[in-house]
Symmetry: C2
Subunit: 253 residues, 2 copies
DNA sequence: TGTCGTAGGGTTGTAGGACAAATTTGATTG
DNA sequence: CAATCAAATTTGTCCTACAACCCTACGACA
């Protein structure tokens, strides 16, 4: 056990703070299965000594894992790995999103969620919501500087629609997923050949906004699913079944 | 500032560990808007002194917030609240789910997600998936002891469908939301008058399974949305717009 | 006057020790 | 053999100290 941890510790870049690195080590031990649910972690003393750090740092690391419901510490007994179903938080592994295959699943989920969000928004949006969404669209086409302001405006557009559903949970989840995708795109530097496609992208957003204005739920949903599918395809995501969601919607219209 | 924190500290039950309680306090300060993105938190010394605890505890609390991307600590400068879009994890506030109104939103989200998951599962499920789903259904109706085994089998049923989509992200999110709901129901002790409704509940599951067997995506989705809507209504959730999702699906069938 | 460098105080990061509280284990005793 | 108690183990909390770093303000120099 101590050997395993020691080996892993050498693989880490000394960039981020120490407690976070220790938390990553332990988290990997768990997700890789070397520590199974119900197992007891090494004592804080052991971890501290085997990594050559103070117990204080170890405690901060375990505090992070505890916050996620990954482990549960019982005074006098030890810290135990919890079952996956007991987790209190969702945290996506960034490494899963570095390849295109990993992105496919996230885009599929995003299309589902945002498509339905657009449908609800079409039924419930207030005039204030519409104003905010329209403003974001203006920012998108107005700014020529695609790199910064326009991408941000794009996100504001999507978030505003999610908020217009009136459902705080939908808003939270949509924000989360969108940002995961944005971060991945930034890191993977996919955003190269996109610049000349601004008109296409803006055009897709216009269709969504029109459907929202008209209060047409199904049209809004189809437009959103189509937009997200195309956006994914633009950065190279290949969908396994031609996004039956959009196909159905179009066929039914 | 110190006064605000002091007041909040009195409201907390002394049940859970100290660092978690401090993290909750700070987290509430942020989500309530008293601490806005970009603001600097009080120094660790100030927090420790104003709550009458050691700096160590404060540091563990901040470590939890840092893990979620809620705050970002810079050595020598301080800890700063991050923008909501930068969050690294989703964690639902349990207090939001203690009332029925809070549950409505979560059930709506669940119906969306699981409905679409059932649709995808109908297209992609393997025979192994079907076997697992069927087995869960048998466990549900077999065990007479509703309180324990049957509830767990119910969850297994839903998780198996989510896994049958072949999309790990959908599976993760569905598991997370289902468990939030289960935990809330347990805590709120709603699970009283449900016992006599086992046949109804099982019946709804049978409809879902039949649609999955038949490979009928739209029927699976409608059955799932209907089931979740009814399940919510059984524990007292009132949906604001008669769950247009189900209505549409039925009308279109 | 303006600009640069530096010194100082303040803040987080890490280390290490001490004791309390709780649990587990094992030994002792009836 | 069973119950009880004592000791060792482990986490929880507190304390002090210092290093690393940030920010500001003051002063030296051009």
């Amino acid at each position: 056990m101590a050997d395993t941890i020691n080996n892993l510790s050498r693989k880490l870049a000394p960039a981020q703070p120490l407690p976070s690195r220790v938390a990553s080590i332990l988290s990997q031990e768990i997700s890789s299965g070397r520590l199974k649910p119900g197992d007891r972690l090494p004592t804080e003393h052991q971890i501290a000594e085997s990594l050559g750090i103070s117990r204080n740092v170890v405690r901060e690391a375990i505090a992070q894992l505890r916050a996620d419901g990954l482990v549960r510490a019982r005074q006098g007994a030890g810290a135990f790995v919890m079952a996956p179903e007991e987790r209190l938080a969702i945290r996506l592994d960034p490494t899963d999103l570095e390849n295109i295959q990993g992105m496919e699943g996230l885009f599929e989920l995003r299309a589902l969620l945002e498509g339905e969000a657009a449908r609800l928004a079409a039924m419930r949006r207030t005039d204030d919501d519409l104003a905010e969404i329209s403003a974001a669209l203006e920012d998108m086409r107005g700014d020529e500087k695609w790199s910064e302001g326009s991408i941000e405006a794009d996100l504001v557009f999507h978030r505003a629609i999610a908020r217009a559903t009136g459902n705080a949970y939908i808003h939270t989840f949509v924000c989360f997923i969108c940002d995961q995708i944005r971060r991945s795109i930034h890191m993977a530097r996919y955003a190269n050949q996109i610049e000349q496609l601004v008109e296409v992208n803006v055009g897709e957003h216009v269709v969504i906004l029109d459907a929202l204005k008209a209060g047409d739920p199904e049209a809004a949903r189809v437009a959103m699913v189509n937009h997200i599918t195309e956006a994914g395809r633009r950065i190279g995501v290949i969908f396994r079944n031609e996004q039956s969601n959009a196909a159905e919607g179009i066929a039914a219209s």
